[in-house]
Assembly symmetry: C2
Homo-oligomer: 371 residues x 2
Amino acid sequence: MTAAHTPAISLPPLANDRFLRACLRLPTDCTPVWLMRQAGRYLPEYRATRDQAGSFMGLATNPELACEVTLQPLRRYDLDAAILFSDILTVPDAMGLGLSFAAGEGPKFAKVVRDEAAVAELAVPDMDKLRYVFDAVGTIRKALADENGVGKVPLIGFSGSPWTLACYMVEGGGSDDYRLVKTLMYQRPDLMHRILAVNADAVALYLNTQIEAGAQAAMIFDSWGGVLADGAFQQFSLAYTKRVLSQLKKEHNGYRIPHIVFTKGGGIWIDEIADSGCDVVGLDWTMNLGKARAQVGDRVALQGNLDPNVLFAQPEQVQAEVIKTLDSFGKPSATSGHIFNLGHGISQFTPPDNVKVLVDTVHAHSRQLRG
Amino acid sequence: MTAAHTPAISLPPLANDRFLRACLRLPTDCTPVWLMRQAGRYLPEYRATRDQAGSFMGLATNPELACEVTLQPLRRYDLDAAILFSDILTVPDAMGLGLSFAAGEGPKFAKVVRDEAAVAELAVPDMDKLRYVFDAVGTIRKALADENGVGKVPLIGFSGSPWTLACYMVEGGGSDDYRLVKTLMYQRPDLMHRILAVNADAVALYLNTQIEAGAQAAMIFDSWGGVLADGAFQQFSLAYTKRVLSQLKKEHNGYRIPHIVFTKGGGIWIDEIADSGCDVVGLDWTMNLGKARAQVGDRVALQGNLDPNVLFAQPEQVQAEVIKTLDSFGKPSATSGHIFNLGHGISQFTPPDNVKVLVDTVHAHSRQLRG
């Protein structure tokens, strides 16, 4: 019996604590499930609220509306966790880079960080500039609670990883080849390390403030770690994810706060990520869950990893693929944990009915697996 | 001593056969090097010839001009192989889908394959429609030969993999999410298998005809294999790459023809790819070459895997990263083979002088490694 399984772990009072239990590799009646970007454009009610807010950032910075869209998928589906509605890039926005989303396009920064002068100006932002996020966390927690203050499901807080933030800060937006950020990294590693150090300390403070505001788990999205070369990944992405993790609160008000790291394309480095100090490793769909489980042993729980494109198939096929994913992880044991998720954010084109098939199949089949 | 190392292997007469020897895991004086897309837009002389041809397809379909651009990088750099100037999508173009390249954009097909009727029409194309490719192969071989018919370096022929061709045929061009091709794959696996079977037989015939025309090695680019989920990769990509390999000529005119498979993002499946029947596995930069070598043992040679973005750094940094890559493979042994390459095509923005630094460093440092 490892330390993680002693009764000393204290979990917050929740009507459904499956997600937190699986993160900490405690037994569950069935496999918990939530979906990256579950509050999103595939839901007509989300689109209506976003139109009301006027823009993505208008929505993200309005705690009442952010709360509303966070709860929308929970009204439709039997999901085991809520995730704060926000963006992975709020921290560089608070650093003064000016985040915006043009209609139908990805994120853009008004200012970019490409030279010594711009790097020298970077600093951990005043958390007051991110007050809207912490207010949203508090509002959502209240909305999730029943009359006795018992939450329906836990609330996950999150941020982009230091490297992923740096990609956007240097490129100024998305990229096909990461030429600018990698040029800076290979030409001026000193500047890149400085950006990453500031980002790591800012992300740690940001996540800790989310935890203080009520986030019951913290997830780091290393969306672009997988574009790095072996060696560079360890040095420029994982090292700074570890720097965040080492500063993160592991408990708040006596309750354990699990930490999740998701590196898209990171399956190849799963061993090293499992040793980063996190509780849960998120995986994309390229990784075989059974192999991953054998590799990580009882170091961490696993989260993932259905290809979101499966949701474009017929319900029977969605069901079959969900079962295949659950079976590839296999029967949970006393020291393993699996949180079902997609291997990436849900597509805006997803038919909402298929999400119900997915969620219900996860619960039904994983109950059978335990039987 | 394995069969691949008996003196029975016959290699064509070449002034420089390092590349072919490394493919077959025979000893070499230093590590051979060539670069994916080495004949390309980063070279001003390439841009001049393309302007003369009027368009990319105008250039690819003109054997004299295709020969000219194939040879251009060999005049500048001490490269150990030439690669036919062509595109990975010539086969579906010959199937009647109408390939074109808009200025500054990726490939587009005029016709797409998304329903039962379009799939039913697909057939292995008449190789006469690809005559321009085989003519280019013959022209290049003549241009590479000295007065005694001895080639300067070997010529590599290539094609896209069945799955990669299918991605473009269904999507109609590049894609961020592969939604259409994956929807077809999950919804109608029967149609996808039919597309892939036709593609595999077409690619095999196409590569064999290139070999008969003079190609001395054959490479299959599975550029989009890495977007598939574990399980789907084996079923929809690797199975059809194997179907190509099983039909490919292993010898021509008594000379051994090595087969190379490159799956971008395929490091996670290296074991299975090494068992596909190919001679060489190409790797992108996410894979550690030392680990890869330990995994494949003496089954295949390895090709790769520098991040092309390294070429945007200063010459000293390019040198250091090339040395790091060679050292990660380590000292070649009697049963190992390494061909230095990038982990993806060279960027159009690459400073040409850095390519010389790369090539010369590969030769100099790998000679030292052997010393």
